[in-house]
Subunit: 277 residues, 2 copies
């Protein structure tokens, strides 16, 4: 089997790259992409064999952009991975906490570490992203600043971790989806399937749609409705349920759903990762 090349959004040391190594293995070759669009394009066009994309964060919610890209591209979800987002405070080797005047990072990371930074008397300064802040310390040989980024970023840029777990709320997890141009063969026991579908808005229609799964004892693990731009009478739903599309009850349920849903898209069936949160 040829080597895996995994596309991720961000630069070397990004949380997405950490997720890529965790899910696909430490020997994986990674491909940094500037945007989520570029990530999906890289996998669709064969520059990467796989992709890894964040789909929801326990604090920030679902990442609709990636739900949209799943619909616009022909990729398949082949797995999921829950990454504990733990922000590390890092600086150049030899720099002590007392030397640090400024802390660079993405605004969201700075906000998630607000209390820690206040208590330590450190001044937050916004930057484009977490890994980029780490890289900049190295590039500018900056001995009076620190960055908030992943442990991986410290390794990549040869920085020293001054403090781990800087985030104020430890319940900070991001769920990533592993993507591939083709579905994988069923091999595990416990599968989850992600689908998207539309329903014409009328009273009880969502109940009808869910009864299709309930009557076949198919358990939902996620449901999210989204208003459709320009189509206020039509709703888009993202649903995850336990089961594989190759299983008879699931096959029948999807056939049944077709009777009432103008649009259905199966994004993939993939082994379930046990949530710790």
């Amino acid at each position: 089997m040829s080597k895996k090349i995994v596309a991720f959004q961000g630069e070397a040391g990004a949380y997405s790259e950490a997720a890529a190594y965790h899910y696909f293995g430490a020997e994986t070759q990674t491909l940094p992409c500037k945007s989520f669009d570029e990530l999906f394009a890289a996998v669709s066009e064969g520059r990467a064999t796989h992709g890894i994309a964040p789909i929801e964060n326990s604090l920030a919610g679902s990442i609709h952009r990636n739900y949209d890209l799943l619909l616009r591209n022909e990729l398949h979800i082949i797995g999921e991975y829950h990454l504990r987002v733990s922000h590390c405070l890092m600086a150049l080797p030899g720099v002590a906490l007392e030397d640090v005047q400024r802390v660079y990072s993405h605004p969201q990371a700075l906000a998630q570490c607000e209390n820690s930074l206040n208590e330590m008397g450190l001044m937050p300064v916004v930057a484009n992203d977490t890994a980029g802040s780490a890289r900049a310390l190295k590039e500018h040989n900056d001995t009076t600043s620190a960055a908030l980024a992943s442990k991986l970023a410290a390794q990549v840029y040869g920085l020293n971790i001054l403090e781990e777990n800087m985030e104020d709320d430890p319940a900070n997890y991001t769920r990533f989806l592993a993507l591939a141009p083709q579905p994988e063969k069923k091999q595990a026991d416990d599968y989850k399937t992600s689908i998207a579908f539309t329903l014409i808005s009328k009273p009880g229609i969502l109940f009808n749609a869910l009864s299709i799964f309930a009557l076949r004892e198919i358990d939902l693990t996620k449901i999210e409705s989204r208003p459709q731009q320009g189509k206020p009478w039509e709703y888009l739903f993202h649903i995850d349920f336990i089961g594989h599309v190759d299983e008879k009850p699931v096959e029948r349920a999807l056939k049944h759903l077709e009777e009432i849903a103008p649009f259905i898209r199966v994004s993939g069936s993939y082994p379930t990762e046990e949530r710790e949160w």
Copy 2:
């Protein structure tokens, strides 16, 4: 009736402040807050009479932090407002587009205007927020830079709008909730109610919960499930439905829901704003 003081997150000229003026009227006094937590605290503790908080964006998704704060505070939702997020390119008076070398804004705004900025050959530079970028131009009398922010920010800081609608995707709306310490008296015809509840995870339980509404012909307009941190067997649901808690069918449905939901919280009944998207 005494003057309204409306708390919002961000600084003068933020999109949230624009939403406050649109919803509560141009004569409203506004109170800038550093964080969403501070916003909720300002209304709870009486420093503001009302609050306005973004709850979901058409591109970015739901803002879970504010869903969480709704659960942690005793505030009531009294209304909703859909703001079209339109990023304006602005600079000091007398500065022409040709003079502009850099464009400051929040990373999300810069990302949403990526194509426009590229086509115009403008270099993006990250800043803490959109309104703050506009303020900084004024403060530093910076005649070689521009900012991406709301039309209101241009007014507040006396800047000149060089270009409107810089965003690449025009379907960019944020839904705001208007908050108050007390519910308001029913006066409109069409009401929506927002509730949150938990369910013990077992097959078909969500179907059972939704049947409570479907059997009474109560129409859902939003549903979102969220895994509960530390409670993998329990799900939290956010649901919006058409109707007012004072209406008999709604009252009965909520009573019925109590039979299967360990936790229910009614966040408020409020007049429905017709979505344009």
